[in-house]
């Protein structure tokens, strides 16, 4: 009885821990986007447009995948639940 309760508690804690990490990742994601989309500012002249396109769309895709992954991990209703822990 006692052990099952304890493990449940640990499980809940872990979930909350996970949720917090996901939220942190969510917060970092746009910063990452800004940095990666800003990279072309450092390019010297003469990069081929096709290469630039491939770079942009790759980053774009990566961001989207990250966002999908995080949204899935956060799960439905997680927004509500995590609100108390946020801020």
């Amino acid at each position: 009885m006692l052990t099952s309760k304890a493990s449940e508690y640990v499980y809940l804690e872990r979930r909350r821990y996970r949720t917090r990490r996901i939220i942190e990742a969510l917060k970092v994601l746009p910063v990452l986007g800004i940095v990666l989309f800003g990279v072309p500012l450092l390019w010297s002249e003469g990069v081929k447009t096709s290469d630039a396109m491939i770079y942009f769309f790759s980053v774009w895709l990566a961001l989207v995948f990250a966002a999908v992954w995080l949204a899935r991990r956060l799960g439905a209703g997680a927004v509500e639940k995590s609100l108390e822990t946020d801020n």
Binding site: P40, F57, V64, V79, N87
Partner: protein, 904 residues
Amino acid sequence: MTPLNLLILVCLSYVVLLFLVAFAAERAALRGRGAWMSQPLVYTLSLSVYCTAWTFYGAVGNAARSGLEYLTIYLGPTIVMVGWWWVLRKLVRIGRSQRITSVADLISSRFGKSNLLAVCVTLLAVIGTTPYIALQLQSVTLSFAAFAEAGGLDAPVADSNATAIWVASGLTLFTIVFGTRNLDVNERHYGVVMAIAVEAVVKLCALLAVGIFVVWGVSGGVSETLQRIDASTIGTAEIHGGRWAALTFLSGAAFLCLPRMFQVLVVENEDESHLQTASWAFPVYVMLISLFVIPIAVVGLQTLPEGSNPDLFVLTVPLSQGRDGLAILSFLGGFSSATSMVIVAAIALSTMVSNHIVMPIWVRMTGGGASMSGDVRNVVLLARRLAIAGVVFLGYLYFSLSGGGAALTSIGLVSFAGVVQVLPAMLGGIFWRGATRMGALSGLLIGFLIWLFTLFLPSFAGGVFLPETVVQFGLFGLDWLRPQALFGFEGLDPLVHAVLLSMSINTLVFVLVSLITLPSPLEQLQGAQFVNVYQHSTQQKSWSGGVAQSEDLMVMAQRILGASEAQALFQSAATRQGVSGYLPEPSEEFLAELEREMAGSVGAATAHAMVGQIIGGTPVSVHDLMAVADETAQMKVYSSELEIKSQELARTALQLRNANTKLTQLSVQKDAFLSQISHELRTPMSSIRAFSEILRGVEVLSPQEQVRYASIIQEETIRLTRLLDDLLDLSVLENGQVSLNLSTGSLSDLMDHSVAMARVGRDAAAMQIHRNSADERIWLYTDLDRLNQVFLNLIVNAHKYCDAAEPKLQIIVRQSAQQLTIDFIDNGTGISYENQNLIFEKFSRIGGHKSGGAGLGLAISREILQRLQGDVIYLPGQNGAAFRIRLPESVIGGAARADMSSTD
């Protein structure tokens, strides 16, 4: 059938389809079968109103001119969406909890429901959006013209005004029909949203179809396309840092601030969790939208004759390849982009105009409140409808006055730059409690003016509003007032220049003014509600005091919310309050709820004003402010108060426990004491009574017996008297009531006196007393009588209790730096270890009653010495009973003075 006629037919069918879709959606929603429409996907697609005709056609044009720069328009929103946790989540939450109806309402509501601010934002939005609507109309007319050209007809070009009128009218009709069906903006426009979602699919499909055709149909594959790109005039990626950063920022900011975006993002949001899906789905959408832009542009540049309008490549490339079907699809895509933008923008603007401009004026004019007549709903709806028509008409007017043409193409970014002036107030409002109304207002106005001067007015070529001389030489001929080099910022791209200056000065002024001005109570209240929206999503306190007439409120609410809705609202509130019938008490919560409900119809400021007119009095008292202004801090204070209170409670409990223990102890002590007193009094009285009865008795007693018994009576009477004296003495000492009679005297004199007194009535030879007179040559400044009492007690005790054959008493005086000790040591058996502590207690007598004392002597001595800052202890291990008196050094202090006075 000519392509143009076909086009018109398709176009009309498409419009009919849209009407049907919207109508079906409204019906489904009305019948409660709209669940499938509140899917995250629909929400995501509705966000595509961001992609207007300007982006649909213009992106390719932009790419044809400046290569990859068009991407920035999509990168900004992508970053905002991906970073939804930061801003969008909060905006949506605030929008839902505060029933926000528009950007203007958000800003106004946040800054104390200020209508002035709302009017400013509304005007800014109208000014910023009108050219944009014109741009949509232009794109539709241009695309029509392109078809007409391809069909070999010239007439429609001249007739572009007619096209624009038709389009504008159709859009107005659609928007009025589906945009003002219901009043409460939070009830959402299912029809409109559905139609927009359909249009989003159409424009995506159109662009993808053209793109696929261009890549595989024209170029012959991906790698060939890429080669073609690199071989084209935009084959080298030239990225201008300043423009790149400014445009990305601008598009991201506009994504949040554009009225139509706020409408679909926040107002039409059904469920916060939809954001979670949109956070990746919308970036996917814009990524797909922008995927084929470069290939289309490159193919357009290479295959179409020199001088072709690159803004129409999406349309003209399929047309030139003889793909009329594809071209029509493409046209529908552009048409969709244009119409969806106009519809949503018109709804958003009309809400603002009616809520923040028309309604306040109307309320002021009619007096509002309960005295107003007629159904306010009709007034509001009429205002909205007129506003929609007005907004679209303004767009048309702008279009026709500016004469269309290339001047409009740049207006997209100009419009963005204008609308984003709201950003500092918006972000500051939701993240910074210190932001004030004055700050927001000043920032907004400054930003707006700078934008107007540096970007908007110069954007009209040919000096329509701003003479060429001003652009070249500055306002009033002042060099530093040149619109495109304001304050000497030269060499910047005009757009970057305007965005940088307007945004930074806007923000700076906003922050500075906020810092130096004080927010009103309501502002502070709303600030707390907005910034800490997650902590208290639903509570909203606003009204207090004042006697509200529930009936008046009901009358007003019915007119604004509709009779049945208002009655339901009032009844549920009454039920919650435990009141039967329809009229609840005008409690603070109910008024706040009512105001919120009405805010959904007429905006926060108007609702506030209306309720205020009925309630009367100041809406928020300083007391309220004190209570709610800093809710977070208050919560913290509250919890720490609770903590302190619980600590206090624990402390009090402990104190109570201690007090109780002490009381119990005292009670036990008192019982013991009373029992002792009783014993001490009754014992001598027993003897007295017994012997007095004997003496009074019948038998004849011998004279010796008579004398003896009488003397016993006398002896016991003296004992009783002494006991009472001691008790009184002790009581006085213990209560601290004793006043010390301080005087100076020599220790040896005092000791002489004590010894002499102790020997009264005793055989002087019975006990030897050893003293060292040299040590006793000390001057004391203390209560000498009390000290004598102590000495006497100790010496008498020695006399009484020393059981040695030859009793001796040693009195040893020692003086150290800190204290004076006087030891009284006899040569008797002393006091056993366990009794050493007891002897100082009251009534403790070791070895029976034969001494005749009351057992209070040592207790009294100890009390006396405590009063004299000293003490008396039993000194073990001295081969006899030994007591040590300790007196503080201060007592000896008198010696010096006494010595000096004597030497003088």
